[in-house]
């Protein structure tokens, strides 16, 4: 069997037709996941056991099971419930796109809330006390001191999570979505050349990861400008 470099070149533009959907899945589920993560974080950090407990259970469930299984449960499992088929959610749960977005968002929310919690716990207690001593309210301390510093601490881990999310979007191909991996799989079915086609896909993923990492390096550099000596 010979390796066909030309096939890589010709399949690249075809696979790129799935780029829009890949990025769409990434951006939409990352943003929804972030919103959800903040809510779970607030519950997790609360003083009330009845808020902490469900947050812990949520995090345990979504970090403790494979994303692919979560996606299948949403895509194949939920429609079994008659109740859901008659609910306002049904138009969403019927769509492979929304099933994928929901699975990705629910999953990343669990990780991101823990990443953010790590940031919050890393904020120097002395700074919070300084805020108290200056008479800042709880909300002012949270918004001006804890949040900006926690976000800075969480950035490196958060950039890893975005990279991880990019790779996870490939799972959407298992529920018929034609994002990049989905496109690659159809080309493979036509050409019987999995090697070349998936290498072409690999190249595109690596380029995307490079962009994500570079963007975060710049963001971290800006956010940590106060750390530089000079």
């Amino acid at each position: 069997m010979s390796f066909d470099f030309a096939l890589i070149a010709t399949s690249l533009p075809k696979i790129l037709q799935g780029l829009g959907l890949t990025l769409n899945l990434l951006v939409v589920s990352t943003l929804l996941g972030l919103l959800l993560a903040v809510g779970i974080l607030l519950m997790r950090l609360s003083q009330h056991a009845w808020l902490v407990w469900p947050a812990k259970a949520y995090i345990y469930f979504f970090r403790g099971t494979p994303l692919l299984v979560q996606l299948f449960i949403i895509y194949y499992g939920l429609p079994q419930f008659g109740l859901l088929r008659h609910s306002f959610l049904w138009p969403l749960l019927r769509e492979p796109y929304w099933c994928s977005v929901i699975a990705l968002a629910l999953n990343t929310a669990a990780y991101v809330s823990e990443i953010l919690r790590g940031g919050v716990l890393g904020v120097d207690k002395g700074l919070i006390e300084a805020g108290k001593a200056l008479g800042l309210t709880k909300f002012q301390r949270a918004s001006r001191i804890t949040t900006p510093l926690a976000v800075r601490l969480a950035l490196p881990a958060y950039s890893n999570e975005i990279v991880s999310m990019l790779k996870s979007t490939a799972l959407a191909s298992t529920v018929t979505l034609m994002e990049m991996t989905g496109v690659a799989r159809t080309i493979v079915a036509d050409t019987f050349a999995p090697y070349e086609i998936f290498i072409a896909a690999t190249i595109i993923y690596l380029v995307l990861v490079w962009f994500i990492q570079t963007a975060f390096t710049l963001i971290e550099g800006y956010a940590n400008r106060h750390v530089r000596k000079g």
């Binding site: 001593a133 200056l134 510093l149 106060h226 750390v227």
Partner: protein, 245 residues
């Protein structure tokens, strides 16, 4: 007992540990009190109770007529009148010096930015550091950071200033620049409660020295009496150790 800060029979526990035992202290307006005593004797715990960074378990703490209880709004109003300087400076690292100084006046006193910055520059000049206004804390020396922290507290126009070992984290050559600023502040009539082992400063600035051991105030004297003839054996031992350095 009607000073600007009054502690009456204050007790504080950390779990089973009795950290403050029946502490009585009344500080008059304009008075400068130096608190000293061995490590772990409860000095920090006592002054942190005055602005409710720690909650006392029994007794009364009244600051400028306001008793500290669970009432959040009273706690906030006491904190607005009481400035605090910490051993570890605790400047907000993500803000410039000027932003550190204007944050609370703008948020708490609702001062417009221009006015807050003008006041901030005035205090930075007083602590002799106005040329560093746009730097970040990490770009300053320890002594400079502590002077910024003092200026930050002063920007709130406090009635009382609390200092918790403000020079203990500093390299020796920076101690005097911070003590000089504190001495100026004392001369201007600020009410000060200061935990420190800088006995030279205590001698020249304090109206009273409070000696603590094991969660108790066991001696209160003028500096002259305290240094010349400590009343208790424990204070004598402590002074012997401190002055031996």
């Amino acid at each position: 007992m009607t000073g600007i800060v009054d502690l009456e029979q204050v007790n504080k526990f950390y779990g089973d540990y009795h950290a403050l035992r029946n502490v009585d202290l009344s500080v008059a307006k304009g008075e400068k009190v130096v608190v000293c005593g061995p490590s772990g004797s409860g000095k920090s715990t006592m002054i942190r109770c005055i602005n409710r960074l720690e909650e006392h378990d029994s007794g009364r703490i009244v600051v400028d007529g306001k008793e500290l209880t669970d009432d959040e709004s009273k706690i906030e109003s006491v904190r607005r009148e009481v400035g605090m300087v910490f051993q570890a400076f605790n400047l907000f690292p993500h803000m410039t010096v000027l932003q550190n100084l204007t944050l609370a006046p703008r948020l708490v006193h609702k001062k417009p930015r221009g006015e807050a910055e003008e006041a901030a520059m005035k205090y930075l000049t007083r602590v002799r550091i106005h040329d560093q206004a746009n730097k970040y804390p990490s770009q300053l020396s320890g002594g400079q950071q502590q002077r910024v922290a003092i200026a930050r507290a002063l920007c709130m126009n406090p009635e009382v200033m609390l200092f918790d070992e403000p020079t203990s984290a500093l390299d020796p050559e920076m101690i005097s620049e911070v003590l000089d600023v504190m001495t100026d502040l004392a001369r201007e009539g600020m009410t000060m409660i200061c935990v420190t082992h800088e006995m030279g400063f205590a001698r020249s600035v304090a109206d009273r020295i409070v000696f603590m051991d094991n969660g108790e105030i066991i001696e209160t004297s003028t500096p002259a009496d305290f240094f010349a003839a400590p009343k208790t054996e424990r204070a004598r031992t402590f002074l012997g150790q401190i002055l031996a350095h």
